[in-house]
């Protein structure tokens, strides 16, 4: 397998999602929108979550389908080890390059 030519990237939204999920709890999309105080948008969060899952930063599982007809099972997301490492590395780099921005 060829090595990627670019280092893994992390957008502001992706970083926020990783931060929300590092608490260890599995969250679903609307929960993350509410927890982010509307910094994440309902229309784009699912696209971002799908992309992050493809990149290997997140994993997801389906809950039991609700009993009513036509009900779809909810998808809950959790951070992977790779996602956790990326967030740590990202924070580390940010602290060293821009100490004024580090929390």
């Amino acid at each position: 397998m060829s090595r990627p030519r670019h280092p893994p990237s992390l957008s502001a939204k992706e970083r926020l999602i990783l931060e929300l999920l590092t608490g260890g709890e599995e969250l679903y999309g609307l929960q993350m929108v509410a927890a982010s105080k509307r910094r994440l948008k309902r229309g784009t969060i699912y696209v971002t979550l799908g992309r992050m899952e493809r990149k290997g930063y997140l994993r997801s599982r389906l809950e039991e389908a609700p009993p009513q007809a036509g009900g779809l099972p909810r998808r809950r997301y959790a951070v992977t080890a790779a996602g956790r490492r990326l967030l740590t590395a990202w924070d580390h780099v940010a602290r060293h390059l821009m100490p004024e921005l580090a929390r």
């Binding site: 030519r5 036509g70 009900g71």
Partner: protein
């Protein structure tokens, strides 16, 4: 039995975005909203339920558009490492096109000082067909700046074809009508007090820039019969040649950036020089056509032909180099 909310959007998404996007993007959104909305309905929160359904529709439309765009962008295979290059090239193209539109519109705006500023809407279309090839050239030279895959090339050729088609439609019908409308409106605002602009009158006579492509063809034939100046003929052929510039310049930029590793600064210099060269060739050819030295059609197409010849030469040299390398390797 009624369909669950969002079912029709899910069906559209399945067509536009593919099964994977439906499973990982559309279905999670649908499930979250359905469960929240059902809970609100059970609690008798009618308005919250309605708000959630509206929110679901908006969220799904946004998600479908985003997925469709992502799918279009990564058409032909999985995401690859040249996506950031493609994004940068597209972004640079859009910014350069917008900048060129502003640059070409500003000089025209000086004439708007005495008329309603809202007439600027009628001036902008004239700048777009010129700005599109400039934007694409800058986007590819500055945004790409290095080698990229065949998929990237195919995408930009497709974008250039769309830009060329849009330019042709604008130059042939939209720009002439917008120009004429601008003249009529400006006349009614600038006419001296003694002229009653509300009185019925004949519309202003159209100049060459206000003639649609059909009218221009008619005028050209009439001029040819009476052996008049070839200005109309040149304008007619230019309406065909200028839209093709988007494809011609994009192919040239793709061939040049595929041949050499060009940095952003070098790329911007080459892009600027290429656009200036195109303009100088077009202007000199126009004078040759107007004094009857060259046929109008050949003069209008000259810059496109020369840039196409350069592109073909670059491709042949690149192919010959690749063959030599494979034989020696």
């Amino acid at each position: 039995m009624s369909r669950p909310p969002g079912a029709w959007l899910r069906a559209i998404a399945a067509r536009l975005c593919g099964a994977d996007a439906v499973e990982h993007v559309i279905d999670p959104a649908l499930a979250d909203f359905q469960i929240e909305s059902d809970a609100a309905a059970r609690d008798g929160q009618v308005w919250r339920c309605r708000r959630l359904r509206v929110g679901l529709s908006i969220a799904l439309v946004e998600a479908v558009v985003a997925c469709a765009f992502e799918r279009l962008w990564s058409a032909g295979g999985a995401a690859t490492d040249d996506e950031p290059i493609a994004d940068a090239a597209l972004r640079t193209s859009i910014v350069a096109t917008a900048a060129a539109v502003v640059l070409f519109t500003l000089p025209l705006l000086t004439n708007l000082a005495r008329v309603d500023w809202r007439l600027v809407v009628l001036v902008v279309p004239s700048a777009v067909p010129v700005a599109l090839p400039i934007g694409l050239t800058f986007g590819l030279f500055v945004g790409r700046g290095t080698r990229a895959s065949a998929r990237f090339t195919r995408k930009f050729v497709a974008i250039a074809i769309v830009a060329s088609t849009a330019s042709f439609v604008m130059l042939s019908w939209i720009v002439p009508e917008a120009n004429q409308m601008f003249r009529e409106r400006a006349f009614s605002q600038l006419a001296p007090q003694s002229v009653d602009v509300t009185a019925p009158r004949r519309p202003l006579a159209r100049g060459t820039n206000e003639l649609t492509i059909g009218m221009l063809r008619h005028e050209m034939r009439a001029d040819a019969l009476h052996r008049l100046s070839p200005a109309t003929a040149f304008a007619y052929y230019q309406r065909w040649a200028l839209p093709a510039a988007s494809v011609v310049m994009a192919l040239f930029a793709l061939a040049a950036t595929g041949r050499w590793h060009i940095g952003r600064f070098g790329g911007s210099i080459i892009a600027l020089s290429s656009c200036l060269a195109y303009w100088l060739l077009l202007e000199s050819a126009r004078w040759r056509a107007l004094d009857g030295t060259w046929p109008a059609a050949a003069a209008a197409w000259l810059p496109n032909l020369l840039f196409t010849a350069t592109t073909v030469t670059l491709q042949c040299v690149a192919r010959a180099g690749a063959i030599c390398r494979s034989r020696s390797g």
